[in-house]
């Protein structure tokens, strides 16, 4: 039981029906199509992909915001597919959204936002204020912040509040949906440092969703690359970045703007067609040649 992965996902799929102008079913979009992976306790699992890859749909299914078409989600060995609305479940999995500007209610103070999970799960009882201060302290914000409104905070501070809110229920797994893509690099570095520290202190497991491969290289222990709803390549981070096998992974890596010659040396060359960068579809159709 102890070496059982914290989260196991098997054959997960989400198909959206497509209707024609007359409302007839004319096909399905396979937003997520047979995805399987598992995350060991205490690990950071990175899901890399571009828009339309299905990474957000996977997050929504794990959070119980969307019902899967097929497949299974197991948390600590317990099948939680479809049982996601229950309170006990909500206490084990939490999410930090991409845009801290829109994931905090603009008309509610930081303290009120953090109190939501405390009240919903009847935690903290009479020590609400104290618990809110504790949670703010965990994300390195002073207790006075409880009375501020989101628009008075910087982007990094808002994201810290969102993290504090997710921590309020003492979850086992936190889904991070592009948590730093709206932040400046220096702020990003501090938020990631905070997540690493919290992960260690609180024995947290992270599912880290991002399109930023450089960040993933430095944060995730294991990475899965998603393309059009399918995992095209998975592996331990170092191995996958050193020896990417799938052409799409190579294209993704080749597209990353880098800042040093060492990085350039390990980065695959951009696949070109007639002097122009090839698209993912062209690469997968085998049309492009990698030029030296």
């Amino acid at each position: 039981m102890t070496d059982r992965p914290l989260l196991e996902i098997a054959g997960l799929a989400k198909h959206f029906p497509v209707r024609n102008k007359f409302g007839r079913l004319s096909g399905v979009v396979k937003a997520v199509d047979g995805v399987s992976f598992s995350i060991p306790r205490g690990a950071v699992y990175g899901l890399a992909g571009e828009s339309g890859s299905g990474k957000s749909t996977i997050a929504r299914m794990i959070m119980g915001l969307t019902r899967p078409t097929a497949g299974e989600i197991r948390l600590e060995g317990e099948n939680i597919t479809g049982a996601t609305g229950t309170r006990a479940y909500g206490r084990k999995v939490q999410m930090v959204f991409q845009n801290p500007g829109s994931s905090l209610n603009p008309r509610r103070t930081v303290g009120q936002s953090i109190a939501v999970p405390l009240d919903a799960h009847r935690l903290a009882g009479g020590n609400r204020q104290q618990r809110i201060s504790e949670l703010l302290d965990m994300v390195q914000l002073p207790p006075e912040f409880a009375s501020r409104y989101p628009h008075e905070l910087s982007g990094g501070q808002k994201q810290r509040v969102a993290i504090a809110r997710a921590l309020a229920v003492e979850p086992r797994l936190i889904v991070l949906d592009e948590p730093t893509s709206a932040l400046d690099v220096s702020v990003q570095a501090r938020v990631i440092a905070l997540l690493i520290e919290l992960g260690r202190q609180l024995d947290l497991t992270f599912l880290f969703i991002s399109h930023d491969l450089s960040l993933m290289r430095n944060f995730a222990h294991e990475v899965g690359v998603l393309y059009l709803g399918k995992l095209v390549e998975t592996g331990p981070t170092e191995k996958l970045f050193a020896h990417p096998e799938h052409p799409y992974t190579r294209l993704l890596l080749a597209s990353v703007p880098v800042i040093s010659a060492e990085e350039e040396a390990i980065r695959p060359a951009l696949p070109l067609i007639n002097g122009e960068v090839a698209t993912a579809a062209q690469v997968l159709a085998g049309l492009a040649q990698n030029q030296p």
């Binding site: 910087s154 690099v185 944060f219 703007p257 122009e276």
Partner: protein
């Protein structure tokens, strides 16, 4: 460097909000010589966008006031020039590639309509005469220059029929319509996927090189700076804190701010120590505080 094509000298801009005056730009200076590719890099709130807006004449008087300095383009001080003179330069000899391909195009007009209108006004300002057919021919020509495979079909399309990458190309084509000598690019491709962004950056680089244009790239992404520019200005709190040849800046940054900024960028080769960055100097924390 007074022979630069564009020269910004000691530019200062104040913003008035809620009765408080904020010095957003404090004497910023930069030069863009003919045919050179210059980057202006900064985090949010650094003043880079305000600089860009001041150059393009997009600042609105309340709340913004240009309190000092000059913006010299091709020997004319834009801040002192007559309206007619300014119009002749802005949007013609210097033009702008907008950031967001989703909102910068009007959804109810075809690409040919929108580009034709821009061309008509550019012609009028330059005192050129072109009839409808000649304008359409020019639109097709420019679309072909941005490597659109079927310019006639693209010209007839509405924005919604094009992908994000195609729309970004249309925005570049729009900037090329009036045969500018300087392109100002505001974070092109940030709204797009990494692979598409790589295509756009490569295209932009090829275009300015083959047409001998000067480029001012405004960005927050150091990777983009390294890939597109040969000389870089680092902006922070409304001041240019460091300027250098791009390769020299990445090899040996001089200022503490720049050093920290470069260290904050996660590397594709791994080894970025977030915890060390997160501990960071109290000054940086205080700065983050100050941005509330």
């Amino acid at each position: 460097m007074s022979d630069a094509l564009l020269s910004v000298r000691n530019l200062s801009v104040d913003f008035e909000t809620y009765g408080q005056v904020n010095h957003v730009l404090n004497g910023a200076s930069l030069d863009v010589p003919e045919r050179r590719h210059i980057a202006l890099v900064g985090e949010s709130g650094s003043g880079k966008t305000v600089t860009m807006k001041a150059i393009m004449g997009l600042l609105r008087h309340p709340p913004a006031t240009i309190t000092g300095g000059e913006i010299v383009f091709d020997g004319h001080d834009l801040l002192k020039a007559t309206a007619a003179e300014r119009d002749r330069l802005r949007g013609t000899a210097m033009s702008m590639v907008f950031q967001d391909p989703m909102t910068s195009l009007n959804p109810v007009f075809t690409i040919a309509d929108q580009m034709g209108t821009i061309l008509k006004y550019a012609d009028r300002r330059l005192g050129r005469v072109r009839n409808r057919r000649e304008r359409l021919a020019r639109v097709h020509e420019v679309l072909a220059q941005v490597r659109m495979r079927d310019p006639e079909r693209i010209a007839r399309a509405y924005p919604i029929m094009l992908s994000g990458g195609m729309r970004q190309r249309v925005l570049i084509a729009m900037a090329l319509l009036s045969e500018p000598r300087l392109l100002i690019a505001d974070e092109p491709g940030t709204a797009l996927d990494v692979t598409t962004q790589a295509q756009i950056l490569k295209l932009l680089k090829d275009l300015v090189e083959e047409r001998g244009l000067a480029l001012l790239m405004i960005t927050h992404n150091l990777g983009v700076v390294r890939e597109t520019s040969s000389y870089v200005y680092v902006m922070h709190h409304g001041r240019i804190v460091e300027e250098a040849e791009t390769s020299a800046l990445f090899a040996a940054p001089k200022q503490a701010y720049t050093k920290n900024l470069i260290a904050s960028v996660p590397r594709l080769t791994g080894g970025t120590d977030f915890l060390a960055l997160g501990q960071s100097d109290p000054e940086a924390e205080a700065e983050a505080e100050a941005t509330t």
